[in-house]
Each structure stands twice: as C-alpha cells, then as structure tokens.
C-alpha cells in the first residue's frame, strides 16, 4: 500500500485553527476515580481503582498483558460502566459516567470533550476527508457550516501529513496511515482529553515515530494525553507520569522519573526488568 511519509513532525507543529466548533467550553478535567471496579462473567477484572487525571502531564498506563490497562481507559472514556465505585469529571463525582446516550445534555457534553484512538482504528468506508468530517459533524452546533467543517478537517489532515490522501478511500490506506487518520479525526474535534489504547502496537518503527510525533503535537496544543503502551522505550520517551497496573489493580501512580528510576513495588521492578509477563 502507500508509503509512509516522515514529514509529520514538521507539519504537525502548525498552529491550531482559530475557530471552534462549540462556543462555551468549560473544563471537564480533573477526572477522579474512587474505588472503581469492573466485573465481567463474575470475574473481577478491575479492582478498586482510585486515581486522578489532571490537566497537563501525559499519563502512561503501564502493565503486563491482562493487567487491565485497556479496560481502565474504556472506563475513563465511558465506553464501560463500572460495577462499583465512582468516576467523576470536574468534581461531579457520583453522577456516574457519561453513557452512550447522545441526547442528554451533561453526559453528551463531557463525551464531546474527549476522544479515543484504538489499537486497531475503525475507519468508515468513505474517503479520508469524510472520515474526519463525519466526526466533526457529530459534535457541531447549528452555527457551524459544512464549509467550516470541511476546512477544519482539511487542516487536521495537513497536520498529520495526510492532505494528499484526502480523497482516497480510508480503508485501503496502510496501517500507519490509518492510525494517523484516526489521530487526525480525534485531533480535529479538539478534545480536552485524548485516550490512546496501544496506538502503535501494530505499526513498524517509522510509523510509530510518526504517531508519537503527532501525539506530542496534540499534547503541545493543550490536550491531556492518557495512553496505554507495552513498549517501555516509548513509555520512557513520552511519559510525564505513570500509572502502573497489575492484575486489575493500580500498584503505582508516580512521576515518570521516580517510577523508572526507583519503582516501589516488586511487580514494577520485575516489569521494568522485563521479567513480569502477566
């Protein structure tokens, strides 16, 4: 398929567009989790998670396979509802997670300020550009014209090095291009929080670097980054703070430096030494 382009980092640093899709935007961070549990088929997969996600630092969620990293991201993003505990945005603790009902005001507004990029991006069977305008049209208010949406989508494609592919079918792009398009789609909505679940797990090193560059640019634009990865090198490059999970429990929440240099738990030490596999 198409070859990877490596000029992402440069194009990615262009200034963000000046107009906004919604008018009044109040901050939804911090997100506070208290004793969040998640069970499926009688098995407790997430056990008593309590932590806080503040605006600013890039948070890497680390842990071996099956530690619950992806579930944690989905609970935070509201794709799953906790079976116990509370999860509240901006002090609205106890009011539950924004569900999938697009209709009711508060939850939908909180949802509209977040975006998520998955390990395997799901692109729609339409053009690259239309994949971005689709996402934008879902959250536009009545005052935003189609033309503005198109311009905004075009800008997102330029910033991710996809402008020349705008009219290609999204599903026939290479793996790296597809993931960049997923990032462009998320970026175009100007989220306050961006969740990324192993965004480079299926990509070669060059495509991974391109994705890391885009994530850095999104963060530079003021978006909170919450990301899972099993790539320790990537975690060291990107983390400002680390949440370390093991078997559904949060074992450490620490600034990146102290986590990588002086982990407290034996599990984290084993994980960093490459000895803890699950």
């Amino acid at each position: 398929m198409g070859e990877e382009r490596n000029d992402m980092v440069e194009t990615a640093l262009e200034p963000a567009p000046t107009f906004r899709l919604e008018e009044a935007r109040h901050a939804i961070l911090p997100l506070v989790l208290r004793g969040v549990c998640f069970e499926a088929d009688g098995q407790r997969l997430i056990d008593g998670l309590s932590f806080q996600l503040r605006a600013g630092p890039r948070t890497m969620v680390l842990g071996p396979n099956g530690s619950g990293k992806s579930l944690t991201l989905r609970l935070c993003h509201g794709l799953l509802d906790p079976s116990a505990g509370t999860l509240g945005w901006h002090g609205s603790e106890g009011e539950g997670v924004p569900g999938d009902q697009g209709g009711n005001g508060g939850a939908a507004q909180v949802r509209a300020r977040q975006a998520m990029v998955f390990q395997r991006p799901v692109l729609l069977r339409r053009s690259v550009l239309d994949n971005v305008t689709y996402a934008l049209s879902l959250r536009r208010n009545a005052k935003v014209s189609r033309e503005m949406i198109r311009i905004r989508a075009q800008q997102a494609l330029e910033r991710t090095g996809l402008a020349e592919l705008a009219h290609r079918q999204a599903r026939v792009l290479s793996g790296g291009e597809q993931q960049r398009l997923a990032l462009a789609r998320a970026w175009a909505t100007e989220p306050e929080v961006l969740f990324l679940d192993e965004p480079t797990a299926n990509l070669d090193p060059a495509a991974s670097r391109a994705v890391e560059g885009i994530i850095a640019a999104i963060h530079a634009g003021g978006t909170k980054i919450v990301m899972t990865t099993h790539d320790l090198g990537q975690a060291r490059r990107m983390a400002d703070e680390v949440l370390f999970m093991h078997r559904g429990r949060l074992l450490e929440a620490a600034p990146a430096d102290s986590f990588f240099n002086a982990p407290h738990s034996p599990e984290a030490r084993a994980f960093l030494a490459g000895e803890l596999l699950w």
Partner: protein, 234 residues
C-alpha cells in the same frame, strides 16, 4: 425430441424478433418485481438494522420469526394476501385483487423478511467492529444505524438482489393474487406455467430463457460488485 428442438428455435426467433407478447410479459414482470423489491428494501433495511442495534423485550423472538419467514411458501403468502384483498376481506374496498398493485403487495410480503433478516446479520456483524468507535465519536443509536447501513451498502445490495431473485422467480403468490390474466397480470413465471400446460412450448421456453438470463445476470452482478467493492473500499 424434434418438437422440443423446433420449439427451441422458435423461442430464439421470438426473442430475436422482439415478440410483442413476450416483451409485454417481461416488462410487467420487471415492473412488478422491481417495485416490490424497492418498497421491501426501503422498509426492510432500517428494520433489519434496528433489530441488530436495539435491545428490547421480544427481540429474540422477532429475529427467529424473521428468519423463519425467509422461507415462507409463496402460495401461502398468495393465499393470505388474496384473503386480505378479496371483496369480502378487510382491504377488499381497495379493489387491488387481480391487479399488478396487488401482486406488488404480495411480493413485498415475500421479499421483506429476506432482506430484513440478511440486513440484520450484516449490520450486527458490522456493529461488533464499529460499536466502540462510533460510541466514542458520540454517534447516537439513530446515527449509528444509518452509518452502518451505509458502510454495509455492498453486502446489503447483495441482500436486495437475493430479494429480487426470489420475487422474479416465484409463481404461487402472483398466480393467486394476480390471476394470470393476459395483458393485465401475466408475468413470466405464470406465463411459463400456463403455456407449458397449453402446449405452447416456444413461448414458455423463450420466457424461460429470459428468466434464466436475468437470474444469471443478477448473480453475476452481485459477485462482481462484491469483488470490486473489496478492492476499492477495503
């Protein structure tokens, strides 16, 4: 054997010469079946999609019923619609019995479950893949439904073609509801049945060839469309 061969050559002659009776019958068949399929698809695609996406009490039973209705015998459908449309029936006042419109009604009943059941399957499979992404993007159930129907358009078109295959090939429903009246409600299948029993093998064979060609063309189109779509849209 000679008789059959002679009928075969005669049939080719009718086709090549554009015999008006034959053309009239083919024309009516296409009009009735295409209209029925278009109406059935307009109802069945959203219905099948909704059945795939929404959870409500009785959904399981409805899915089983729909799958069972896929194999509904055309004569039974014909009988049911006949009873509805007959002069003493609840819709008798509409005067649709023995008219092309009545035949369209019968074929809609016949085709709708097929397209709806296939559409449910297609949309349900797509939903497994798309659910998290669409919910994350903030698409409500209604928007998700249209998105999935659009993204499944090529598989769904095949489902609609399957519906057309059923409509154009059945005899029972159109025979009972239409009455096989010459120049009014005579379609290919009912004409073949009648002409064969009357001994006019040439017209029956000619119509049979058109019907087979149509069915091969429809299935060929479905095959190439799938191939093309996989290449183009991934």
């Amino acid at each position: 054997m000679n008789e059959i061969l002679a009928a075969f050559w005669h049939a080719l002659g009718l086709l090549a010469g554009g015999d008006p009776e034959l053309l009239e019958i083919v024309g009516l068949t296409l009009r009735v079946s295409l209209t029925a399929v278009a109406l059935a698809a307009a109802l069945a695609l959203p219905l099948g999609g909704a059945l795939a996406l929404f959870r409500f009490p009785g959904r399981g039973a409805l899915v089983v019923l729909l799958n069972a209705l896929m194999g509904l015998p055309p004569v039974v459908v014909g009988l049911g619609v006949y009873l509805l449309l007959s002069r003493s029936g609840p819709l008798g006042g509409l005067g649709l019995l023995f008219t092309p419109t009545g035949m369209i009604v019968a074929q809609v009943v016949l085709v709708l479950p097929i397209v709806a059941a296939l559409a449910r399957q297609v949309v349900e499979d797509l939903w497994v893949e798309y659910e998290e992404q669409l919910r994350s993007l903030g698409a409500g159930p209604g928007r998700a439904l249209w998105t999935l129907l659009w993204d499944g358009r090529h598989s769904l078109f095949t489902a609609v073609l399957a519906g057309f295959g059923r409509a154009s090939a059945e005899v029972g429903a159109v025979l009972i509801v239409g009455g096989n009246i010459a120049h009014v409600t005579r379609v290919m299948t009912t004409a073949i049945a009648l002409e064969t029993s009357r001994g006019d093998l040439a017209l029956a064979l000619g119509l049979g060839m058109v019907l087979v060609t149509l069915s091969v063309a429809v299935n060929g189109a479905a095959f190439f469309l799938r191939d093309w779509s996989r290449l183009r849209h991934g």
